[in-house]
């Protein structure tokens, strides 16, 4: 046994040393140009199976391989049999720097012989713009590695692997099959958790694709538009479905008949249900840039907005509505109502939202309409500030804002009768002045009159001094007034006491005139004496004396009517006789005596009162 091994090693060495330079039909092929970072296939094909020894290629990175596949065909042509075998070895390579590189000839060892392939020159160009395709192909490559040998496999193929929140992407569920197969039951929809999904029509027709050199029939089973709802890495979990896969079943036994009849043609074919799952696919959802503009309500896409006010003139209590229409391609259904600053003092009702969505060209587009109904409550001219709508445009990675023009409307007074049969009057509903916000009142800006702190009028002596002064003045006033009134009373008393004396003095003058025969002077003096007496006695000024006044006063003083008449008679006689002709004059002596008697009686009567 050991001997045999030694011989074998020798033979191998011999084969290696004696390189056979002839070309046995092994050819190497690779794309002429690739992008940096892009994966590509390096394929060696030949007619025989063998062991491939790759040359050292330090410029390239070996990502996978070899993926080996063989095929053979036998043809009978005119009784002559031609057998053809094809072997292919695929390596996945990647180059990370630009330039032109050459992969030197690879060696293929077939049994004892070693063959050499041709060298391949590859031009590596430029920066790769999008990382998504690259990572996409990584996935594909890995899938190839594991799946390409499977008769049936499923893939979830998102159109993008890095999107913003709200940005659309299309995801397809695709089946690859190399056998005649079909799902055992109806297929559920892929759940796509974390996404808002919109179902698109799947392909009716299948197509052919070469996967890893093997022809596969492919068909898109499901197609969805996905709109991610949250930021972060969202993993589309493996999706599982059951497929009936035809498998050859040998007719059993390992007997003599095995060899001649070991042919697929004679095998029985049976459908075996096999569960097939997709690989988890990760979508990196980027959150929107920080600087959210004011009018942003979640819209992402290529959008536009129009706003219209249905009327410019209404009557009080009539409704009017502002309609904001947002249309375009994007997450239409997820856009919130833009905030609108309506003039206060209007009843604003709930916003009515209506959406119409269509999918055209693998994109969700449509229109969302927000209707803001409001009812005018008071007459006047009002203004609605321009409606602003902002959205995120993922293609330019910026926020965009559009603003409408401002709206003006006029509310006219109405005398119409409202539903309750009452004329609506402003304020008749007892509406209070509503506070929109509360805050403290503002400071006082005009400089106040400052006073000294801690000092009150009561703490100074001046205040109490004022009371004292007032009290002193009061006492002084009492003293002064009292003396004044006393003196006044005293004066009256004196006058009263001296009244008859004064009258007598005057009558003396009258008496002298009587004796001289000057009757005119006598009457004058007599009258004066009577008036003077009355003035003094009754404390009345002579100038304000009159017969009526005197009679009124002496009446209250208890003077008898008889005496009053006498007084009246004397005064009238005096007045008359003064200016009358001498014949009609009263008797002077009688009048004189009467006057003396009157004064005496008055003196007695008034005093005795």
């Amino acid at each position: 046994m050991r001997y045999y091994k030694v011989i074998l090693t020798f033979l191998v060495l011999l084969g290696t040393v004696h390189l056979n330079a002839r070309n046995s039909g092994f050819t190497a092929s690779a794309p002429a140009t690739v992008k940096t970072g892009q994966q590509f296939q390096y394929k060696i094909e030949g007619s025989q199976q063998g062991e491939v020894i790759l040359p050292q290629v330090k410029d390239f990175e070996l990502l996978g391989g070899p993926f080996t596949s063989f095929s053979s065909s036998t043809q009978w042509v005119n009784g002559k049999m031609t057998a053809k075998t094809t072997a292919s070895y695929i390596y996945i390579l990647r180059c990370n720097k630009p330039g032109t590189f050459t992969i030197p000839p690879a060696k293929v060892k077939v049994k004892k012989e070693t063959f050499e392939t041709n060298s391949v020159s590859i031009q590596v160009v430029g920066e790769q713009v999008s990382g998504t395709t690259g990572s996409n192909e990584t996935q594909t490559g890995q899938q190839v590695q594991s799946e390409s040998d499977q008769p049936v496999f499923l893939r979830i193929l998102p159109s993008k692997r890095e999107v913003y929140i709200g940005e659309q992407l299309v995801s397809e569920l695709k089946v690859y099959t190399s056998v005649n197969t079909q799902p055992t039951s109806g297929m559920k929809e892929v759940p796509y958790e974390g996404f808002y999904k919109h179902t698109l029509d799947a392909d009716q027709n299948s197509s052919r694709e070469n996967i890893n050199g093997k022809p596969h029939v492919t068909q898109v089973l499901q197609r969805h538009i996905l709109i991610p709802q949250k930021a972060g890495k969202i993993v589309i979990e493996p999706y599982e479905s059951e497929w009936a896969i035809p498998q050859r079943v040998s007719r059993g036994g390992s007997g003599f008949f095995d060899d001649p009849f070991n042919d697929p043609f004679f095998d029985r074919v049976r459908n075996v249900p096999v569960k097939i799952a997709t690989k988890p696919v990760t979508i990196n959802v980027k959150s929107l840039p920080e600087n959210l503009p004011a009018g942003f309500t979640g819209g992402v896409g290529d959008l536009t907005m129009t706003a219209t006010l249905n009327t410019e003139k209404v009557k009080v209590n009539d409704a009017l509505s502002l309609v904001v229409k947002i249309s375009g391609t994007g997450n239409i259904a997820l856009i919130g109502a833009p905030e609108i600053s309506f003039p206060p003092d209007h009843d604003v009702y709930e916003t009515i939202k209506s959406t119409s969505i269509s999918t055209r060209g693998n994109k969700v587009s449509g229109t969302v309409t927000f209707e803001y109904p409001l009812v005018a409550r008071h007459a006047g001219n009002y203004r609605i500030a321009p409606v602003k709508f902002s959205w995120f445009d993922p293609s330019s990675e910026t926020y965009k804002t559009i603003a409408s023009s401002e709206f003006n409307f006029k509310v006219e007074k109405t005398d119409s009768i409202d539903a309750q049969g009452q004329i609506y009057m402003p304020g008749s509903r007892g509406e209070e002045v509503r506070n929109i916000g509360t805050d403290i009142l503002d400071i006082k800006r005009s400089v106040p009159v400052f006073s000294t702190a801690g000092v009150t009028p009561l703490s100074g002596y001046m205040y109490w001094l004022a009371y004292l002064m007032m009290a002193l003045l009061f006492i002084l006033a009492i003293i002064l007034l009292r003396t004044y009134f006393r003196q006044k009373a005293d004066a009256r008393l004196t006058r009263n006491r001296k009244a008859s004396k004064m009258a007598r003095g005057r009558l003396k003058i009258a008496d002298r005139a009587r004796k001289e025969g000057n009757s005119e002077k006598f009457f004058e003096e007599t009258e004066k004496a009577v008036w003077g007496y009355l003035a003094d006695k009754l404390s009345i000024e002579v100038s304000s004396l009159s017969l009526e006044k005197v009679s009124e006063i002496i009446k209250t003083a208890g003077v008898s009517g008889e005496l009053q008449e006498e007084l009246q008679k004397i005064i009238e006689e005096c007045e008359f006789s003064r200016y009358a002709p001498s014949t009609q004059k009263a008797d002077v002596d009688v009048l004189y005596n009467q006057t003396i008697e009157l004064i005496r009686k008055l003196e007695q009567n008034i005093r005795s009162k």
Binding site: T438, D439, I440, L441, D442, I443, K444, R445, S446, V447, P448, V449, F450, S451, T452, A453, G454, T456, P457, L458, S459, Y463, A466, Y467, M470, A471, L473, F474, A477, I478, L481, F485
Partner: protein, 251 residues
């Protein structure tokens, strides 16, 4: 003579100058407030206060500046001070009501005898100055009424004088009582506002006393006795305890 006039001019100039400083400070503070520098405005107002001046509007503005500087306790204190000078300062009343909403302690008032609250509201109808001058005026009316009564030459004049005197005595009593009440509150202030965010009320004037309850910034209390650094307080629901005197300030 010339010397005397110079001294007089200097005196007038000094008093004018002294009158100018609080005015300019007041305006400066108003500008600082308008510019949103509330702390600075408060400091300027305090400077006026420290100079020994006071005015209802000054305390009102200090209250606003305190509230804006996030010190509701001081705001309540200053609004109360403004109302003490002018009980009819409507803005201070309204802001005090507003700021009181932010106060943590909402105490129940013990219902007091109706006459007491009636007199309280009567006394707070006018500021001290008005009451004191009203009292003086009514005193004058009393004396005049008495004079009319004594020296009235007619009976009707005497009757009028008597009536005036009687009514004036009533009004004088009210006015002087109100004035004295205000005066005593100013000279011996008892009402105080808690200014520390929270303070533990003790059963005795020492830190070893039992914790009775906790009061928060902005709560109004009545102060009673002072023992060292401690002051006895009574809150509106009637509870009594001791707190460090630095945690409150009298109105």
């Amino acid at each position: 003579m010339r010397k005397a006039s110079i001294i007089f001019i200097l005196f007038v100039a000094h008093s004018l100058f002294a009158g100018d400083v609080p005015d300019s400070l007041y305006n400066e503070a108003g500008e600082a407030y308008a510019a949103g520098k509330f702390e600075q405005a408060l400091d300027l107002y305090r400077e006026i206060e420290e100079m020994g001046y006071e005015a209802a509007d000054l305390y009102y503005n200090m209250g606003n500046a305190s509230f804006r500087s996030n010190r509701p306790g001081y705001a309540i204190l200053y609004y109360n001070k403004a109302l003490k000078i002018n009980p009819r300062h409507t803005e201070a009343r309204s802001n005090l009501d507003y700021v009181s909403l932010f106060r943590e302690d909402q105490l129940e008032n013990v219902p007091e005898f109706f006459l007491k609250s009636w007199f309280r509201s009567l006394f707070s109808m006018l500021p001290l100055k008005a009451w004191s001058y009203l009292a003086l005026t009514f005193f004058l009316f009393i004396l005049a009424g008495i004079l009319f009564y004594i020296f009235g030459s007619h009976l009707s004049l005497k009757k009028t004088g008597f009536a005036i005197a009687l009514v004036s005595i009533l009004f004088f009593t009210i006015s002087i009582a109100a004035a004295v009440n205000h005066h005593r509150k100013i000279i011996h202030p008892r009402r105080a506002i808690i200014l520390t965010p929270s303070v533990v009320v003790k059963s005795s004037p020492s830190s070893s006393g039992t914790d009775l309850f906790i009061l928060h910034e902005g709560t109004g209390v009545n102060t009673d006795e002072h023992v060292g650094e401690w002051v006895e307080i009574r809150i509106s629901d009637g509870r009594v305890g001791w707190i460090p005197s630095e945690s409150l300030e009298v109105i």
